[in-house]
């Protein structure tokens, strides 16, 4: 990216980014990324707010003792930790397996195009 004297953006290279963006390979790469992160983001936010609403408005339910002094609220709270760790691990393994190889391939092609 670069800016000319008036601060307006001008494309920095001769690479035709619109063509790349519209290529089937890139569309597939973008779809793979978004179809993973968007549903997951919505899911964890819903799960988080479900927990928040229970903790905020369902005190009796959250106060039910499950075993010993451990109640539903504590278990649900700790399960937020568990899901956060699990989503993290899941996303990283997905990104390493599916996203990184594709991104690297594009990067190499683009660098070659820039040199040409």
């Amino acid at each position: 990216m670069a800016h000319d004297d008036t601060g307006t953006n001008v494309p920095s290279t001769a690479i035709d980014y619109v063509a790349i963006e519209e290529s089937p390979a890139f569309i597939e790469h973008k779809r793979r990324h978004r179809s993973f992160v968007f549903p997951l983001a919505i899911a964890f936010l819903l799960w988080y707010f479900l927990y928040v609403f229970l903790a905020d408005y369902a005190h009796d339910f959250m106060s039910i003792k499950v075993f010993g002094n451990i109640n539903v609220g504590l278990l649900l709270g700790l399960s937020q930790f568990v899901t956060t760790f699990a989503i993290t691990t899941w996303y990283v393994s997905f990104a390493n397996r599916k996203l990184d190889p594709a991104a690297e391939k594009f990067r190499n092609e683009l660098e070659e195009a820039e040199r040409a």
């Binding site: 800016h3 307006t8 619109v18 983001a41 928040v52 609403f53 905020d56 959250m62 002094n69």
Partner: protein, 526 residues
Amino acid sequence: MNVGDPILNISIFAAFVVVTLIIVLRVSRTNKTANDFYAAGRSFSGGQNGTAIAGDYLSAASFLGICGAIAINGYDGFLYSIGFLVAWLVALLLVAELLRNTGKFTMADVLSFRLKERPVRLAAATATLAVCFFYLLAQMAGAGGLVSLLLGVNDRLGQSVVIAVVGFIMIFYVLIGGMKGTTWVQIIKAVLLIAGAGVMTVWVLALNGFNLSTLLGQAASVAGEGILNPGAQYGLTGLSRLDFVSLALALVLGTAGLPHVLMRFYTVPTAKEARRSVVWAIWLIGLFYLFTLVLGYGAAYLVGKDAILAAPGGVNSAAPLLAFELGGSILLAVISAVAFATILAVVAGLTITAATSFAHDVYANVIKKGAVPPNGEVKVARITVVVIGVLAIVGGIGVQGQNIAFLVALAFAIAASANLPTILYSLFWRKFTTRGALWSMYGGLGSALLLIIFSPVISGAETSMFSNVDFSWFPLSNPGIVSIPLGFFLGWLGTVTSSVKEDPQIAAEMEVRSLTGHGAEKASSH
């Protein structure tokens, strides 16, 4: 009541300052270019950077504030930990890597990639400075409160002197060390803090036969059954429940908009390392918040609510008092030194972020229009560090005794209202325009500030900043529930009403680069 030995406390803290100063001096020899000063030459590994993020994020509000909140209010204190942790998924899934791929030093770099540069940079810098300022005030206020407990300095003058000393040490670190030195301070502090909290956690659990249920039972036998159930703090009225929803929203969406967190993603060489940083940060921060659960209930059981509230630091003194109860003066001194180091490191991170934003966005790109002599930008950044440091000292002295949690929650609410919508829109929405960005940033920032000014935290209630006047009309103490949706809505509205469309070429370039890492800033080699 004074506990522990002030001389011992000061000695251990001084030892921390000396050791970190030596490290800062050693690593800062290569601080020449903007790349070095702002982004540490992009030379940190994901593990190092993730530890530094944890060091940046686990502020005094996290350590002292959450331990205290759990000790006093029980379960409701735990809710903070969950919001602060889950928030990292937003950063991991949606922001960190794409931001690393498209920017250089600041959040504004990403926004101005395809939007009109000057107005967007100015807006982003304004929001960045506002968030940093409130976060800074909270940390400085925390420093003052801590002093009274740990050093036995109870008078206002003495506390002011200590705030000034903390401020000047911080200015020195940042001036000499730049981002590299600051990062090392944060790494060392994160290790000390997590190790210290870990030792205390194991200790508390050992006293209870390594059984969480036993610990909870003991806490309940001292403080009453209510400490185990939700509602002690936020369940009192319909309004306070709504306030909690508002807070929960600000916490979960604020993290990925905090400028000092965003800036850390630029200190690593690639997007993959940025991802690795967030993963490290999530594990470390998650682990730490699990510790605070045990420490909070441990303090409720071993120290007791009345003793905590009667101590000079009030609710914030739960963790230090627990350390004293467990390991006497020595452990108290170590934990106090760690708490001071925490404030120092977080303040340093905020200061360098604010200085970078001013020098890079406002000075170099808006005022000088990009025509800056070599190193001119870094020179301005260094001057800004001193100015911000002095402002933080003065502000910190001014807000002594104010509620720290309120200031931090305000910073989170502003970050979520003013920064996050524009970041997400510009990364994921092709049609997003300059007008949408400006409306969203100024609208989010303005509404968050306005609602705070007219809320009970400023006036009209016993706990307000100005308790003898009442000009409040907004009933909630956290503006998030209104200002965050408004920020998103204004970004959409500004975009769909724009007559000017943004350049499709550059939008395509940004999208390709964000998803492939092509053309991303590389690590500088020395």
